[in-house]
Assembly symmetry: C2
Homo-oligomer: 334 residues x 2
């Protein structure tokens, strides 16, 4: 196994002091142009590779950004991360991705490790159980800017890009009411995060503003996938007073609802309207295609990157909150 070529190896070969070699290779300090060329040629010839870890260590900051998400599998996070990398790359940044697995403990470990990696900035969406922002404070102490997107801790003074979840649910319920529905159910995951609470509030407010009663038996929760939507729909359609509209907080859940309804010969949207959240391409696979509350990922990526870059460039942390207004994508299920 060949050992790593160091700056000292290059210096020895040329009979030049290693500090000069280092300066030439980093294009810093005063080194004569012809010496610089000579050094770079020799470094290349010997197969010298800059040790970025050591470089980062010296320079304190890198051109590396970190993105931390709870789970890479849902379309929303996979798409955000993928698009964020494209945007960051165009601006000369490399992106490292981390997945907290919805575990606050692992999220804390990741954040702690980021300090060690001397990343230039962090974009994060927190776990379903992250309420406090205290484990992010270490970033602030190290002057590493960070921006929350989609899910932020309840109390934080960091910049954040959030979706108006209240409004998304409010408009979805209103759309069903406008199409003649009067008894609308709400299916959530078992996640306790604020974004889901806000959607529930939007749902309730829309009912109230239309003089429709709120009925606890129409609000159900648990699960994340199609099968969960299927099971919830079965329970809801076995109620004495069945719903004629169902809002699901994820498209996958909404598709499960449609699958159950179709299996039972219940017409969508004539008998029961269905709306999901996320604009997951999966919603186009089902029939009728699922109407959904879209949270613009391109807008969230652009805003998150912008809020981060401002802080990196200014060398200071600041607090800015951007709210992305959701938009209903009408398809066939309402």
């Amino acid at each position: 196994m060949k050992s790593t070529v160091t700056i000292k190896d290059v210096a020895r070969e040329l009979g030049i002091h290693h500090v000069t070699v280092s300066r030439a290779l980093r294009d810093t300090g005063s080194v004569k142009e012809e010496t610089k060329v000579l050094i770079k040629q020799k470094a290349n010839e010997l197969g010298y590779k800059p040790n970025r870890l050591a470089q980062n260590f010296r320079n304190k900051r890198s051109n590396v950004l970190a993105v931390v998400v709870p789970d890479l599998r849902p379309y929303f996070f996979a798409k955000f991360v993928s698009d964020f990398m494209e945007t960051a790359k165009d601006a000369g940044y490399t992106v490292m991705i981390f997945q907290s697995g919805e575990k606050p403990g692992l999220e804390k470990d990741i954040i702690d490790s980021l300090i060690g990696y001397r990343v230039a900035g962090v974009v994060a969406s927190v776990t379903k159980d992250t309420v406090q922002a205290s484990h992010f404070e270490v970033l602030k102490e190290e002057n590493i800017p960070y921006v929350f997107f989609d899910r932020a801790p309840k109390e934080t003074l960091a910049s954040q890009v959030l979706v108006n979840n209240f409004q998304g649910a409010y408009e979805a319920v209103t759309a069903m009411i406008n199409s003649g529905k009067r008894r609308i159910a709400y299916i959530s995951t078992h996640y306790k995060h604020q974004i889901f609470r806000d959607r529930l509030e939007g749902y309730k407010q829309a009912l109230q503003d239309n003089d429709l009663p709120s009925d606890d038996e129409l609000v159900v929760e648990g699960g994340f996938f199609m099968k969960d939507g299927f099971a919830h729909a079965e329970r809801l359609m076995n109620l004495e007073e069945k719903p004629d509209g169902i809002l699901a907080v994820r498209d996958e859940i909404g598709i499960g609802v449609i699958k159950f309804l179709k299996k039972k010969g219940i017409q969508v949207p004539n008998d029961v309207a269905v709306i999901g959240f996320d604009n997951d391409p999966m919603g186009i696979a089902c029939e009728p295609e699922l109407t959904t509350v879209q949270q613009s990922i391109p807008l969230m990526v652009a805003s998150s990157f912008e809020l981060l870059l401002v802080q990196i460039n200014n060398g200071s942390l600041n607090f800015e909150k951007k709210i992305i207004e959701p938009k209903i994508i009408y398809r066939g299920s309402v």
Copy 2:
């Protein structure tokens, strides 16, 4: 802005030599147990954080693994990465994810940067255009083990976990022939990677083994998404001699095919059978549910991690090739 607490700060506070403090905090060397406790308490009190970058630099290796994929959006890669992180975490490793965006140039930059980060090992699936493995050779020179999964460069002596793509396509076509189909089309992406060539060979061999002629007008390519499958299906069903079976190299394309057929009132699978690749959950959203060629992700994750770990633990690189046999998941489209 508070400055970073160093080992020397802790040493100064306690009046103990900083080498002793360093040893105690890293649990190496001989330090009396009570001194160790004292040092750790003080370090904690002062808010000392180990500088992992410096640690990695000293130790040369870290407990960090890197996963490099072409694109995080397709279900296959998002799921692999997510599951790999879980497996690695259970074994005490942190995982950094990188996305090459299907660009060999960016892939090379990422690999170069990994040497700087002193990762313990790398798992990679290459871009659609990566043929040579030369830009991975730098890892070998640095004695950093790497394993390819799903997509490997054509000529490499690195360990790899591949799917028997030939067999997957062969079995899918055979399944359609067994259900009475005689004129089977093949829809691919525009990607030139070997995995797609192998699928095409499997398709052709299955036709030949069943004495069915191969017809060039039934082999089409281009695109990646539902809309592409929809458009290809439209062209295929406008042929004078229409197909009665269609194999798509991605589930999303297969779903697009089904959507077109249903729109035209063509019965699936009675008039035309459809099979996809990937076992994407999206295939359950459509109707009929899509029969698919499954490449076991849990098996690929376990094999990739195992092949990597053996090399990390032995401190040497080796060459092992694991072939994952695909399995047809029968649903409603055949």
